[in-house]
């Protein structure tokens, strides 16, 4: 089984190599005429002002936090999905209790407006 992971590692190396070769060829073959205007940040032809990386709405952060919560829930589903035939009805009820607890948080987030984008 471990051998299979080495195969994946080999594939990662091959894929990285291909990406580097593509960029390298582009750097090698393309023209290199630098100019002031070319290296300015693109802002639809207007003179750029201020930093590009500025403060972002907090909603993106909220979505990320909620994602971590629910993605871990999905990960907990996976082992259960493998053995749920052996666990039977008991396992199903346990899983429903687990989800109900999480759903309370989900409903709270919904009612608090964490899922709203005006």
């Amino acid at each position: 089984m471990l051998l299979e992971y080495i195969a994946i590692a080999v594939m990662i190396a091959v894929a990285t190599l291909i990406a580097f070769i593509a960029i390298g060829l582009g750097e090698l073959l393309g023209p290199k005429k630098k100019s002031e205007a070319k290296s300015m940040p693109y802002e639809s032809g207007m003179n750029p002002y201020g930093e590009g990386t500025r403060r972002m709405p907090v909603r993106f952060y909220l979505v990320a936090v909620l994602f971590i919560l629910f993605d871990i829930e999905v990960v907990f589903f996976l082992p259960w999905a493998i053995v749920f035939r052996q666990l039977g009805i008991f396992g199903l009820i346990e899983m429903i209790i687990f989800i109900v607890i999480l759903l309370v948080g989900y409903v709270y987030a919904w009612k608090k407006g964490a899922l709203e984008w005006e």
């Binding site: 089984m1 990406a19 023209p31 693109y42 930093e51 990386t53 999905v74 493998i82 989800i99």
Partner: protein
């Protein structure tokens, strides 16, 4: 372990990468031709017979374009972001089985790179890694459009990943294994799309958002963000983002075919090994056509609706579908009655119908409130 192992791995990885690269090149051609036909145009038909050499012409042109790095960009991250994006889109294909196996020089060559027992988990984790490249590209460009595109893209991808993960779970429930080969073999009598059509539909919708395709292509909304996270990229670096996006389309159609449409299974596949890849390619080809069709048909949806659709509709519906599937299988097993098992598709479709009705009523109510 001898050198032939290494040779086999390197060759397989290389061949798979080449197949995906060629697939990417011809997918662009396929999309342009299909879109053109739907819009009553002809599409590219000048380079070579029927325009078949157009992708090669495009690639050569991109090689000879200048690579620009904006003066204010964070140089190292800016350089690495396209690589971080393209590598996951290539290696995610490693666990997808394209067929059974064949004999060559007395060795059994399997038609997949790796057969790991947590195949689905591997798919989920690599799909998550793909977000990094995009958000790093947006941030390192130091450009307002790119930053917004990257943020939007990452928020959208992680939101739809929940529904995606839950529809993976439905396939695992039905197959009782996370190995891709087992999942394919479990579908030898019935494809999972017959037993769980709603799970397949959720998977498909979530993947449209995951690969930033229309109607969920907000990160690249031309009218407001010019190009989104790759606004500052040019030449081959831009091509790598483009490549990653189209390869993800191919790979995701291959995953959908494997999980819900029987993978490489088809008539006579156990007699002739070469039929496996043929069936797989045919299924991927048809599923890709649906993706292109969606792009030609539906307008882009608003970002707030996109996020509420993901969080408020797809996640609860996917949860319901998981529990409907599990309950059906368990009842059929405990009470020894296959009727419960075949109730799964009908109950799931009813659940999906209720969801659609609730969206419809909500939208009607909103329309009244505005008026």
């Amino acid at each position: 372990m001898d050198w032939t192992f290494w040779l086999e791995w390197v060759l397989k990885g290389f061949v798979l990468c080449l197949v995906l690269l060629t697939g990417f090149a011809y997918l662009t051609y396929y999309e342009r031709r299909a879109l053109a036909r739907m819009q009553n145009r002809i599409g590219p038909n000048r380079a070579g017979p029927q325009g078949l050499l157009q992708p090669i012409a495009d690639a050569v042109k991109l090689f000879f374009k200048e690579e620009l790095t904006p003066a204010r960009a964070y140089k190292i991250v800016f350089f690495l972001a396209p690589i971080v994006t393209v590598v996951p889109s290539l290696i995610i294909a490693a666990v997808i089985p394209w067929g059974t196996s064949f004999q060559l020089f007395g060795r059994t060559i399997t038609l997949y790179v790796a057969d790991i027992n947590v195949g689905v988990l591997y798919l989920m984790s690599i799909a998550s890694i793909a977000v990094y490249g995009i958000v790093l590209a947006g941030w390192s460009s130091n450009n307002k459009y790119a930053m917004l595109g990257g943020m939007r893209s990452s928020a959208q991808m992680i939101s739809y990943e929940l529904a995606l993960g839950l529809s993976f779970v439905t396939a695992i429930l039905l197959a009782n294994s996370m190995r891709m080969i087992d999942i394919v073999n479990a579908q030898s009598s019935w494809w999972f799309v017959v037993i769980q059509p709603v799970g397949a539909l959720i998977f498909w919708i979530a993947t449209l958002a995951e690969v930033n395709r229309a109607p969920f292509d907000m990160p690249e909304a031309e009218q407001e963000l010019t190009a989104g996270y790759h606004a500052e990229y040019s030449g081959m670096k831009f091509a790598l983002f483009f490549m990653a996006e189209y390869q993800k389309m191919i790979v995701i159609c291959a995953i959908l075919a494997t999980l819900f449409f029987g993978g490489y299974l088809g008539p006579f596949v156990d007699k002739f090994w070469f039929l496996g890849p043929v069936y797989m390619f045919a299924k991927v080809f048809i599923l890709l056509f649906f993706m292109i069709w969606v792009r030609a048909t539906w307008p882009r949806i608003r970002y707030d609706r996109l996020m509420s659709f993901g969080w408020k509709v797809l996640v609860p519906l996917a949860l319901a579908v998981v529990f409907i599937t599990a309950t059906g299988i368990l009842l059929a097993q405990e009470l020894n009655n296959q009727l419960y098992f075949w109730a799964i598709p009908f109950v799931s479709i009813v659940a999906a119908g209720i969801a659609v009705m609730m969206i419809y009523r909500e939208l009607r109510r909103k329309a009244y409130e505005r008026a």
